[in-house]
Structure formats: C-alpha cells, structure tokens
C-alpha cells in the first residue's frame, strides 16, 4: 500500500485562515495527522504588559473579529468580578443582545462556508445574504459591522432606543423566516447528507476526554454550554443547550443551524427585559488578584485567566479559545477518513485561526 505525506494548508480553498496539517495517507486513507500553527501568531496576551486594563479591551476585541463582542464581554466580566463591580441590568441584557447577534452572524457565516466546502454555492450565497441583515443590525446599533466595541468595564457604552428595538425585532422575523426556509436543505438534502452523515465521527466519550468545545462537543451528545453559567443576562433568560448525538459533520452543522434560531429567541427575550437602569456602573481602583471567567463563543467555551497586582497593567492575561481546544479532537478524528473528506471535516470544527493565534 503506497504511503505518502501530503501537506494540507496553510493555504487551502476551504481555509479562510492558515493552519497546516501534515497528513500521512495510505492510498486514499488518512492514517496520521499532525497540526502546525503559528503562521499568524500575534502575541496579544503579551500586550497586557504595555496596555492598561481599559486599553486591553480594544486588544481582546481583536483576538477574533467574528466573536469580538464575546471576547470583550469575557474580559470585562472577569475584571468586574475582580474589582467587585455590579453591572446594571440593562447593560447585562444589552450584552446578551449583541453577543447573540454575533453568534447568529457567525453561525450563518460558517453554514455558508460549510456549504461552499462541498460545492453547494447557491446555499452559501443564500446564507450569506441572510447574514447581511444581521450585520446591518450591528452596524446601525453600534457603528460597526464586526468589531462592535460596546463593552466597557462596568457595562456597555451603547444603548438601544425604542425605534431600534422595534426594527431589530422586525428584522429578526424576516431573518428567522429566511433561515427556516433553508432548514430542509441544510438538514435533509441528499447532496448535503452524502458529504456529512457518518463523516468525521467524534464519540461522546472522545469529545469529553479530548476537551472538545462548543458545537463540536454538543454535536457529540454532551449537553454543556457556558451560557448555563448564567453570565451577563442569562440568569433571567430561559436557555437550554442544543445537543445532537451522532457526532458527525451533520450533527455539528445541525447544532449550529438550531443555535442560529435559538439566538434569535434569546435576543427577543433580552430585548423584552430591557429596563431603565444605567448603562454602566462606576469603576474605582485598580485590578488586584486573580480570576477565571468563562463564556460561550460561537465556536465554544472561551476561558480568560486574569491576574492583577494593583497596577493599571495586568500581570497576566491568558486566553484559551475554543478552536485551540478543538485542534486535538480534530487531529484524533482525521485518521481513518478518506482524503477527499478532510476539507469538510476540518471545516466542521469551525476553525478560527485568528482566535488560535491570539
């Protein structure tokens, strides 16, 4: 049997960002996969030595564009816990609104890219067309489409008026109808199922043991989502994690599809709970001590470890992003696959190399 090593990436049509996999194949079967990262590493954690704790908000927002709001949310809530700041209810609910809009546009982006990975171009275009409406909401309510920069330590810096709330709700009705119209295609179309059902299976036990995160974990039947920790406004919002059990590419795709609809519901719930409280609490003093804080990003659990010594510069900012956690499970499921399935399986983890290369 012929054995060869084939480089996959760092430049590849299904990879929006660079990661390299060294694939050992026997004929058309993958027998070994070795990942290499570091092509665009930026060392953002180290910037904590040169940017004060408020300036670091702009830095962590740029760990990843597509979940920038949730990065800054995690960072700010860590500092708020360390400094004993109680965030006003309105700000907590607004954080839910923007973080779920981020999840929605991230999942729509990924669903489109996933369709593109197996050549379903019209589905890709339809999903991205829907996504534009969500991007419009971001732009109109915060001033930016992607890096919305709404979080500050103690709350948020932007608000929604009544007209904007009505407009968001109306737009989400259209977005929901558009997404639902694609449900049977995404979940049942024979073209989609042929490339996703039973491909790249990660068992429940393996997902747990290998530290998988987000839809990768929930697609394998583990009902864990950091929103169950009830951060921001989730303490008042009805929420249950979405779980699929088959552990294959189809399951991961279906989790994200269903989570898109769930995010719309969560935005509505949060909008209905906006009260007249302040947008941000006053913050006094400088951060001292250490704290671990976690949130659920579109790609899964994100952990921040923050350590301050009473100075305006934090002593340590450690960011563990979900894609970083999902690389070992990916390396574990690739052996045994047909070489032609590798691009689809790699994309099924929703790789965010920007996060990984923080």
């Amino acid at each position: 049997m012929a054995r060869a090593t084939i480089p996959f990436g760092p430049q590849h049509p299904v990879l929006p960002e660079p990661i390299h996999l060294s694939l050992v194949v026997e004929d058309e079967k993958v027998v070994e996969a070795l990942p290499t990262i570091g092509y665009v590493h930026r060392g953002l954690e180290m910037l904590a030595a040169k940017r004060d704790y408020n300036q670091m908000i702009q830095v962590v927002e740029r760990v990843c564009g597509i979940c920038s709001m949730i990065h800054s949310l995690c960072y700010c809530q860590g500092l708020e816990e360390m400094m004993g700041v109680e965030v006003p209810r309105r700000a907590r609910m607004l954080r839910v609104v923007w973080s779920e809009l981020h999840r929605l546009h991230s999942h729509l982006l990924w669903l489109g890219l996933f369709a593109d990975s197996f050549g379903f171009e019209s589905l890709f275009m339809q999903l991205w067309k829907i996504r534009e409406k969500v991007m419009d909401l971001n732009e109109a309510t915060t001033g930016n489409r992607v890096i919305v920069s709404v979080n500050v330590v103690g709350g948020v810096r932007a608000d929604l008026d009544e007209a904007q709330i009505r407009w968001i709700k109306d737009t989400l009705v259209e977005v929901e109808a558009s997404i639902r119209s694609l449900q049977s295609t995404i979940m049942n179309d024979s073209t989609v199922c042929k490339r996703t059902v039973g491909v790249g299976v990660l068992t429940k036990q393996a997902a747990y043991d290998l530290g998988a995160a987000g839809p990768m974990l929930r697609g394998s039947g583990v009902a864990q989502d950091m929103r169950q920790l009830k951060y921001a406004g989730f303490d008042e919002i009805a929420f249950e994690p979405i779980v699929e059990t088959s552990g294959d590419c189809w399951a991961r795709s279906t989790v994200r599809f269903r989570e898109s609809l769930q995010s719309i519901d969560l935005v509505r719930q949060a909008l209905d709970r906006l009260d007249g409280s302040e947008l941000a609490a006053k913050v006094k003093g400088k951060p001292e001590g250490e704290v671990i804080t976690r949130v659920e990003q579109p790609r899964g659990e994100c952990l921040y470890y923050l350590k301050g010594n009473g100075d305006k510069f934090l002593q340590r900012v450690r960011i563990r992003t979900p894609t970083f956690a999902n690389i070992p499970p990916l390396a574990a499921i690739l052996p045994g696959l047909d070489f032609a399935d590798v691009p689809v399986v790699v994309l099924s983890i929703d790789p965010c190399i920007s996060c990984t290369e923080r």
Partner: protein
Amino acid sequence: MSIVSENVAAGDLVAAVTRLKADGWRLVTLTSVELDETNMEILYHFDKNLEMKNLRLAATKDGKVPSISGVLFTAFLVENEIRDQFGVIFDGLVLDYQGKLLNETVQTGATSPFCRYQVKKAETKEAQ
C-alpha cells in the same frame, strides 16, 4: 481575590491528573504565569458539570516539569505552546515539537518571547 486551587508537587502531578480524569474531570487548559525573573507557576484548569478545579504547580524558567499529555492527549498542544512562549520544558510530551510549534519561533529563533522580565531586560538594553 484569588482562585481556589490546590498546590501540587511536580512528582505528584501525573498521579493527581490521572485521579481527576478517573473522577470525570475534563481538562480545559493550562495557564503559565511568570512570577519573577526565575520562577513561574503553571495552573491546570479542569471542569466537571460547569464547576472548575485548579491545580497549581511551581516551576522555574528553563526548568522541566512532567507532561500530562500521556494521560490527557489534549494537553499536548498547550504544553508545546508554553514551551515556545515561556521556555518551560515538558518531560514526556507525546507530541513534542521541540520548541517549534509556532512558526514565529521557527522563523526568528526566539526563545521564551512571552517572558515579560526577559522582554523588559531586552528593552532596557536597547534603550542603553
């Protein structure tokens, strides 16, 4: 304020991690914290049903600590990253990139670029 953690000696680390795995704890990640010019500590974060447990291991720069990747394969990536960034060597890594996980360390030959004390020293030297 500080996080709840359990101090663990290097010699007991692998056994402690094996026990946690057997009890159903899942490794979230490792965090390396530089304390001064020679000392570091490494935190091992575990999760079970949304609760966290942390182990704290004392380490020295350029010193060796045992790898837990033999027990928890997922640790191999973060252990390699810590070696690239802080210079700590993990003994018994199942996939050892020899300090060359990140392309930047391969390209520049930089060692432990994330150690702030070393960075400060380098900046002072440049200023002089």
